[in-house]
């Protein structure tokens, strides 16, 4: 395997509501621990960009979308269950 791919994330949050704030913090911690230097995070506040949420089909917040590497996957919730999140992102092996 060549150089590990860069992870591109988009996190849809509903302003600074507790769940959304927690998700932001959890994602930051996860990237720090497992994806140092190879991640991009875009945060979309659906309160500010409701049209975008509508267009992207975002109804439950917070939701994390992994845009790259493929396949695209969606994880809803605060991302507090780290093991589940890592498994979904295909990062299990790295977490050991």
């Amino acid at each position: 395997m060549s150089r590990p791919a860069t992870f591109k994330f988009r996190l849809y949050v509903a302003g600074e509501t507790p769940n959304s704030a927690r998700a932001k913090a959890n994602l930051a911690a996860l990237c720090r621990n497992h994806l140092t230097g190879r991640h991009e995070i875009e945060v979309v506040n659906v309160f500010l960009e409701p049209q975008r949420a509508l267009a992207d089909g975002v109804f439950m917040t917070p939701v994390l979308v992994k845009l790259a590497p493929l396949p695209v996957c969606k994880i809803i919730g605060t991302l507090s269950q780290t093991a589940t999140v890592l498994q979904a992102l295909g990062l299990e092996a790295l977490s050991i």
Partner: protein
């Protein structure tokens, strides 16, 4: 309290105008109970007027499927979708990973933009339970329900939230969050789909309705051509508005005479009898007469196929074929309809409305009672009669009675007989090795009617009624009637001849007497003549004698002497 019409026939009557405006209604039902259609119909009603645009949030089925499923209802969804109806696909994807708590804040924010863009007044959250099931704990579910409810109230939306109930226990929602939701919402409606004795029956019930009266009973409904239709149990006060003095022919001239001119327009007529007593024939005659008058007629047959009915009636001179062809007569074989008595009633109502029928025949109405308990069947029969009356439809129902002789009052399991305005009973009379049909009018409200039993005679020329003979307390029909008729006519002939004979004899005697009288008269004249002749002869002789004596005296020269007087 302001209400929003749902466009569901019957339901708007049950609730006195629809769902509470600006409030939330919980719609609960088992799988296939019609929740989605109910909710969508509610949105269509609002969108159609243009005043209340709506949003359908689909959590379970994709909106494409919802739309295509509803295509058959003629709601013009495609047209409405352009402006006043919006579908939001919010189904959780199957590959969705859930890691921790979440909320519906994003969806509500997204909906807000859509609401302000469309001026939305109505909203449906279809299958909210799907999303709630993803939430980690009961507290989170409760929180999101609250969030949603507050949000709906804040936006003054008239909302329906649908949720599943266990198929077995429709009335008690076992899922905890929905039990709680029932307390929270302002209106709760239960949809129930059950099967009793192999017959499908859909019922709806308004469980609560804050700030409004409503019909608390279960009301049957069906999913018809134009969506949901519920049977409003309470009757609008319009019965009696269409009381008519007009008479319509029963199709049998003699029967019209017996009824004093026919059935009343708008009357409910019941024809009872055992199998084969020509109930269908009599109702067919009525239908044919109605068509002849140019009235649109609906004939619902439970027993046989329509073409069979037409053929069978043609054999007794009742031609329905051409009316079926020109569309005036709509024949429906109710075998094609399945369901409970309620379902039948609603089908018949709809068919009659669509056909604009003025006369309706149901043959036989007793087919209903086999599906339901007596109570339901009775209430259906009652509403059938009331509906027909209020619509000014003349209704003829036949009903099978098991007993061969005479209708004993109240014995009919479906006590429709008390509801009927005119009740005609047909029975068999078995006598001298034959079976004949007797017809009598048991009752006919508001009309003088004959109390006589008549014999019904079917021939290829049609239906006729004949007088029966009563002899020794027995009614004679058929051959015995004919024999009796013949015997009587024989007797009459003998009597006539005897009379004539006597007449002739008297004539002869009279003539004889006259002749004798004439002869005597002639004799009398002869005698008189003879007498006159005799008198004259005597006179002459006396004259001659006296002349002779005078002459003799003269000749003797004697002096004249005066004849002595006595």
């Amino acid at each position: 309290m302001s209400k929003a019409l749902t466009g569901i026939t019957g339901f708007d009557e049950i609730t006195g105008g629809g769902l509470p405006r600006g409030r939330t209604t919980l719609l609960v039902g088992g799988p296939g109970s019609g929740k989605t259609i109910f909710a969508l119909q509610f949105l269509v009603q609002g969108a159609k007027t243009g005043k209340e645009p709506g949003i359908f949030v689909a959590f379970e089925e994709s909106s494409n499927r919802v739309v295509s499923n509803a295509e058959g209802f003629g709601w013009k969804l495609a047209q409405l979708q352009r402006k006043n109806l919006f579908f939001l696909d919010a189904q959780p994807k199957p590959d969705l990973v859930q890691a921790g708590d979440f909320d519906l804040g994003g969806m509500l924010a997204a909906l807000e933009t859509q609401i302000s863009r469309m001026g939305t007044r109505r909203i449906v959250f279809d299958a909210l339970d799907v999303v709630l099931a993803l939430l980690p704990d009961a507290a989170a579910k409760r929180r999101e329900i609250y969030r949603l409810h507050e949000w709906l109230l804040a936006h003054k939306l008239t909302a329906i939230i649908t949720a599943k109930a266990d198929a077995d226990e429709t009335n008690s929602i076992t899922q905890q969050p929905f039990r709680f939701m029932q307390f929270m919402v302002d209106c709760a409606v239960m949809l129930n789909h059950s099967v009793a004795q192999g017959v499908s029956q859909r019922n709806l019930r308004v469980q609560k309705y804050r700030g409004s009266g409503f019909d608390e009973d279960e009301a049957p409904f069906l999913i018809g051509k134009n969506g949901l239709e519920a049977a409003a149990a309470r009757l609008p006060d319009r019965i009696g508005a269409n009381v008519s003095d007009e008479r319509v022919s029963s199709g049998v001239a003699r029967l019209d005479t017996m009824l004093g001119g026919g059935y009343f327009r708008g009357a409910s007529v019941l024809i009872t009898g055992s199998p084969g007593t020509a109930k269908t024939t009599l109702s067919g005659a009525f239908a044919a007469a109605a068509c002849r008058r140019g009235e649109r007629t609906l004939f619902v047959s439970f027993d046989s196929d329509c073409s069979e009915v037409v053929r069978n009636l043609a054999s007794v001179g009742i031609g329905l074929q051409r009316y079926v062809k020109n569309g005036r007569l709509l024949m429906i074989s109710a075998r094609a309809i399945t369901g409970s008595a309620e379902t039948y009633l609603m089908h018949i109502k709809r068919l009659a409305n669509e056909h604009e029928a003025r006369c309706v025949v149901i043959d036989p109405v007793s087919a209903w009672s086999k599906f339901d308990n007596d109570l339901t069947a009775y209430s259906v029969a009652e509403r059938l009669g009331d509906w027909a009356k209020s619509a000014g439809i003349t209704l003829v129902c036949t009903r099978l009675l098991d007993q061969i002789f005479g209708p004993s009052e109240g014995s009919s399991p479906l006590q429709i007989s008390t509801l009927a305005d005119t009740w005609i009973h047909m029975n068999y009379l078995v006598q001298a090795g034959e079976r004949n049909r007797g017809l009598s009018i048991v009752k006919s409200r508001g009309t003088a009617h004959s109390n006589q039993v008549r014999e019904l005679i079917l021939s290829d020329a049609g239906v006729t009624l004949a007088d029966t003979y009563t002899a020794g307390g027995e009614v004679l029909m058929g051959t015995m009637r004919w024999e009796k008729e013949r015997a009587e006519s024989g007797e009459r002939e003998v009597a006539e001849v005897a009379e004539r004979l006597k007449h002739v004899r008297l004539d002869a005697e009279e003539a004889e007497l006259e002749v004798r009288m004439k002869a005597l008269q002639v004799e009398l004249v002869a005698k008189q003549l003879e007498k006159a002749l005799l008198a004259r002869t005597t006179q002459r002789r006396e004259g001659e004698l006296s002349h002779g004596r005078t002459r003799i005296r003269e000749l003797r020269g004697a002096d004249t002497a005066k004849p002595r007087r006595k």
